[in-house]
Symmetry: C3
Subunit: 142 residues, 3 copies
């Protein structure tokens, strides 16, 4: 079994942002020279996500609005606000948003390539950005 | 390390449907002849899911109702509707529903079998169906 | 390729509880003697979760409140209650809560250790507890 580890550094302009990282993952697979196996891609932080969906601008905006509704910055359902903010943080919503979107994806590698459906693209979802964060890419196989 | 790749084709009768695919995954594990390792099962489409829960008819209906509430076809919270629909699509809700249910599962294989708890079953969750879609099964191990 | 399988038994005092299991996973990695690879950690039950987030007491309470809001024990949006309860069960909400939090995590192992970001910790989320349940740890690599 061979393995290959690579870390990407993300530093978003906006606090909340969705960024397509498919080509970065494809590049790592090429570098690994692994032809059959799997690739794990995960956010190394707890207020951001890695997920798979569609490269469509409107949908990305829909995701951010929808998440704000399910896990609001100001939680109207908790009149005292998030307990997490007692620590001095104000990013409680980012922990929850990332939970809905997921921490990681695992993708099949076949004949040296991402074995994907027609519309699958890998995204980094940042919910507490404007500072450097890391993404793990771990590839195992032959 | 050995690997085995198989794709299932799903073509649901209904637009939204939950289908038990555990026996298909078990069959692929047998075909692979892999005794120790893991199996990745993922939807290759961005409006359907693979997830693990209970084989119970009422619960499946609960899931569909609950998802309609969290990610409605007509999003009452967004008066103008999903931005994704500007492209001519009308399946914005399916992208969100699949996000909650998840794209993929990874399961342990021990002694040639799914190493599962007593109630774990693998399901395909379709949220924009009535047309052929594919599921990836990728097995790696020895 | 080497593999290592270990099961943890959890028996929570409370019906709903979030427990840090990072050191259990680290111990299993040591026992496996695997230096490069991945570890799969999943709940073997369908009303509990394994997920990664922050070790912070207020945030854990926020998670439980937030989940009660998204997947309530008494679903105000379904006047007749969960259909799953026709079977005699009363844990419909636990199946939904676990779905939001996720069944499993996959983590990279590099140089014999969890290759984690600064705040990543692994948790078991129990939503229907007070009885013995199992967690699967499956490690593959070299």
């Amino acid at each position: 079994m061979k393995s290959y580890t690579k870390k990407l550094i993300m530093n978003t302009e906006n606090e909340k942002e969705i960024i397509n990282i498919t080509s970065d993952v494809e590049k790592a697979i090429k570098e690994s020279n692994i032809k059959e196996g799997i690739v794990l891609v995960n956010s190394m932080h707890i207020t951001s996500s890695v997920f798979i969906n569609d490269e469509e601008e409107g949908l990305k905006e829909d995701f951010l609005d929808w998440l704000e509704n399910l896990a609001p910055y100001k939680p109207y359902q908790f009149p005292k606000g998030y307990r997490h903010h007692r620590t001095g943080e104000d990013n409680g919503d980012a922990h929850l948003k990332r939970t809905i979107m997921g921490r990681e994806v695992i993708c099949a590698i076949t004949e040296g390539k991402l074995d994907f459906g027609p519309w699958e693209q890998i995204f980094y979802g940042e919910f507490d950005g404007k500072r450097p964060k890391r993404i793990m890419i771990k590839i195992i196989g032959e």
